[in-house]
Symmetry: C2
Subunit: 321 residues, 2 copies
């Protein structure tokens, strides 16, 4: 259950651990249960569920119904990517708020369909209900011959990310009127509204990377998940974070170092990967090296010019649960 990389308030890790314990052992049909991005079932099924709730994960004022449908499926596909699984199919449970009309929900399903077509993951069923607010519960099934997990990072590995960071959070700030729009505003907004699940990159990394997860809460927080699951110490060079164009301008408008925005902003849905440095060059995936894996108790240490007083918030985020 309770994937910590959710909208559960950060103070609730203890609750989540209690709930996971309450659910008990996963049983013989299951290779790995609670804690990863996906549950792994015998023989090769990978399974995930993500909730998107109005005014918690999205605002109807800053997203279109089509974008919301896309995003609800895309964030699930990103979970499959984190496990190096290929999509099979999805179910969509949609709760309609009182203010949602038939046209709006039809546009939402069109967005689901667009994402389903883009990534070969048909939506084959689900449920529909009335409720107090718009909410989506999407679940996806995938297949993975060599699933990636969070718990395999090895001391000596390099720490890498796909793509660029900070774009989704910068896009959110601009969309909500919390920062002026830079020239790259449209691309930032698109990054926030229509994330790209890194399925192709994950397929190339299957059997090559030591561990992976998808960056849903921000590298600073997600690195902590990787460190805890693998039982390793991570060093993250904040100067090395690959910034999406426009992130620096938005960060400056908010009085933030751009690496703080890029490292703490969530929803980029890039992959954070632990990988032998010798294999990184030949993996066939564009990766940026942002740090390394060391032996030691689970922890994350930040380096770089941004790693000064301004970044103490990271240390809080990176504290053990």
């Amino acid at each position: 259950v309770p994937d910590p990389a959710s909208a559960a308030p950060r103070g609730e890790f203890a609750l989540i651990a209690r709930l996971a314990a309450a659910l008990g052992p996963p049983g013989a049909a299951v290779r790995q249960g609670i804690g990863d991005d996906c549950a792994l079932l015998h023989p090769d099924l990978v399974w995930s569920l993500d909730l998107l709730v109005e005014d918690v994960h999205f605002r109807r004022s800053t997203t279109t119904p089509e974008d919301l449908g896309w995003k609800a499926l895309a964030v699930n596909l990103s979970d499959l990517a984190a496990c190096a699984a290929a999509p099979v199919a999805a179910l969509a449970g949609v709760t309609l708020g009182p203010a949602v009309d038939g046209d709006e929900v039809e546009r939402l399903y069109a967005g689901l369909r667009a994402c389903a077509d883009a990534y070969g993951c048909p939506v084959v069923g689900g449920d529909l209900s009335r409720g107090p607010a718009l909410a989506l519960a999407v679940t996806v099934l995938g297949r993975a011959g060599r699933p990636l997990r969070r718990d395999g990072a090895q001391p000596g590995d390099g720490l890498y990310v796909t793509g660029e960071l900070g774009g989704s959070e910068a896009g959110r700030l601009v969309l909500e009127g919390l920062a002026p729009a830079p020239p790259e505003a449209a691309a930032l907004a698109a990054r926030h509204r229509r994330p790209t699940p890194r399925l192709a990159e994950a397929a190339a990394l299957a059997g090559v990377a030591s561990a992976a997860l998808d960056v849903s809460d921000g590298v600073a927080s997600d690195a902590r998940q990787l460190a805890a699951a693998s039982g390793v110490a991570l060093v993250v060079d904040l100067d090395a974070l690959p910034l999406q164009a426009g992130v620096s301008a938005v960060a400056a408008a908010r009085g933030l170092h751009p690496s703080v925005l890029a490292g703490s902003g969530g929803e980029d849905y890039e992959l954070l990967v632990a990988l032998d440095d010798g294999r990184a060059a030949t993996a066939g995936v564009a990766l940026t090296r942002i740090g390394r894996v060391e032996a030691g108790p689970p922890s994350v240490r930040f380096t770089g010019v941004a790693a000064d007083a301004e970044l103490r918030g990271f240390d809080h985020l990176a504290a053990a649960p």
Copy 2:
């Protein structure tokens, strides 16, 4: 998606049909998509998702957190039973309303666990979010060598139900103070709060029954689903509906014929089965014959002493979508 046997207002069948069309064809991985209780995937996977939303599907004033956790999984397992599938595992997405505390949610997970243990369906993951109200999105996977479907009813078959009807609706009326408590009130309340998915009965009917679905909206409404999916005319003898003890007293207090309550009340989660009469006696399942399948355009006709003016509401329910 949109299983019509959901809390979607009855007037929204047209919307549901539009949404199903928007999602497009299910693709090669899928044997049957939208419309049945479950999606059927190659080779033998059966998959369902059900939403339970506060004040739509349940009230916190009349259900305990443990019962709610049980019910959220049990209604999904009932979908598997309708397809004659054996449970593999479940994921639970839980949205916590602002008034839900840690103790309450832990009790909810204990109820999920109790149902999981009772039916051998471990909860292996999911998601957790804050939101405007308590809501559960549970999804289950099962395996079915010979899946039952809604579309196989044959003219000449008998129409049968497992167990007894009306108990859940009578229990709800008593719990909500809408009818005085009869001596059987505790059993009626238990029926409403902790439905029994008919997994064992379904396993015995696999390869024997022509068609099946689970009675979630009431026999009158669900018979319409069966008739529409199979392209047949159904005749339902209201005098033959098996009534749970206490239903007659609650119906009388509400000024209803007991068969009206039993036929229109939902959430009994019995199986409605079309079955060759010769096979019914040897299926090894306790069944009550409540009608028959005839050739003809999809329709449901009611007979019996209760099938008078009082029952015109059924005809509305049983009209073609």
